[in-house]
Structure formats: C-alpha cells, structure tokens
Amino acid sequence: MVTGHRVVLPLRLFLVLLFGVLVVFQVLSLPGQFAHMARENPDLAHLRWPATAVTVFWLLCVQVVIVAIWRLLTLVKRDRIFSEASLVWVDVIVGAIAAAWLALAGVFLFVGFSAHDPGLPLVLFLLLIGVTVLGLLMLVMRALLRQATTLRTDMDAVI
C-alpha cells in the first residue's frame, strides 16, 4: 500500500502533462494538420472536418479517462478505493473506451471500404484490436474491484 501511495504523485504529474499535450493536439496540431492535408489533396478536402471531428473526439475520450483516473487516485489516497464511489469512475472509463471504440469501428469500416492500399486499414485494425483488449481488460478490472469492495465491506462489519 505504501509503494502505491508513493506512485500517486508522479502519476498525477504525468497525467497533467498528458492532458496538456492532448489539449495542444486538439486545438492546434490536428486542425492544422487536416487543413494542410486538405490543401495538399483537394480531392480529399471533403474529409477535412469529419476527420478533425473524429480525432478531436478520440482525444476527448482519452481526456475523460484521465479525469476519471485522477478521481480514482483521490480515492486511493483517502483509502476509499474499495467503495461504491470508485465504481462510478470506472464506469466513466469503460464508457469513454466504448465511445472511442464505436467511433474507431466506424472509421475502420469507412476507410476499409474506400481505401486502395491496405496500409491505413491495417493500422486502424491494429488500433481497433488494441482498444478492444483495453476495454475488455477494464471490464475484468471492474469485476475485480467489485469483488474487493464486497470483501472490504464484509471485513468492515467484523468487530
């Protein structure tokens, strides 16, 4: 438990850093990138705004996960991680991953049917498998958390 508490602070620092970088990508890099690509390939210019919207949405999902992790870390510090309150934030993480997965699956199908070379579809397929594994893993962790919460609740009733 002691080691766990010591990791919380550096983890939070990196979460802040990650969040900041994601915001920079959302408001500067990605819109600029797709505007540039629209100028380079005028025949694909109609994809500029949908592509911007989808990528910004993915980063938003990651940001939601970061906020949820932050809240869970607060519960860890207060030694209240094995309580009903933490399940709410785990559900938020599962929801964000599910939303990102749906958008990714849509993009994968769209690109898969319209692409001429297999490069991008393959990369998207890899991403899709990765996000699927991540989502299912979170569901297993959620079940473990529920088990641990039940055990903790039982132990708290012991005098």
Binding site: D154, A157, V158, I159
Partner: protein, 68 residues
C-alpha cells in the same frame, strides 16, 4: 440474527459499565453497542478472546443460539 451476544447479562453480573468494558477490551464504545444490541454480523476470535479475558468467562457464556 439467530446468534445472540449475551453481553449485557455478563456486564450486569460484574457491574461493569460499557465504557470501562470497551476500554479494557480495546473496542470502541460504538462497537460494544453494536455487539450489545445484537446488530453485529461477525466477531474476530481475537475480540472474543479479549472479551472472555476481561469478563473471566467462556465464549459460550457470551454467545447463544436462539431459534428465529
């Protein structure tokens, strides 16, 4: 609950107050109240041992099974 903690009887026999008992056993008065009122769901053997030592009795003197 079919298991009753006969703590009030043993305390009365020895004319011991709940506060004094709680301190000697090392329990919070709130937990002693839970035991006395029959709202306890589980007791550690170490707690039971401490109660028996303080009261000079056997676990059977403290715990009783009654039909629901």
């Amino acid at each position: 609950m079919a298991i009753v903690v006969r703590l009030d009887v043993e305390l009365a026999k020895r004319k011991m107050s709940v506060g004094e008992f709680a301190e000697k056993v090392g329990l919070t008065p709130a937990n002693v109240a839970v035991l006395k009122n029959g709202r306890a769901k589980a007791v550690r053997f170490s707690t039971l041992e401490a109660m028996c030592r303080v009261l000079g009795c056997q676990p059977g003197d403290l715990l009783e099974w009654v039909e629901d």
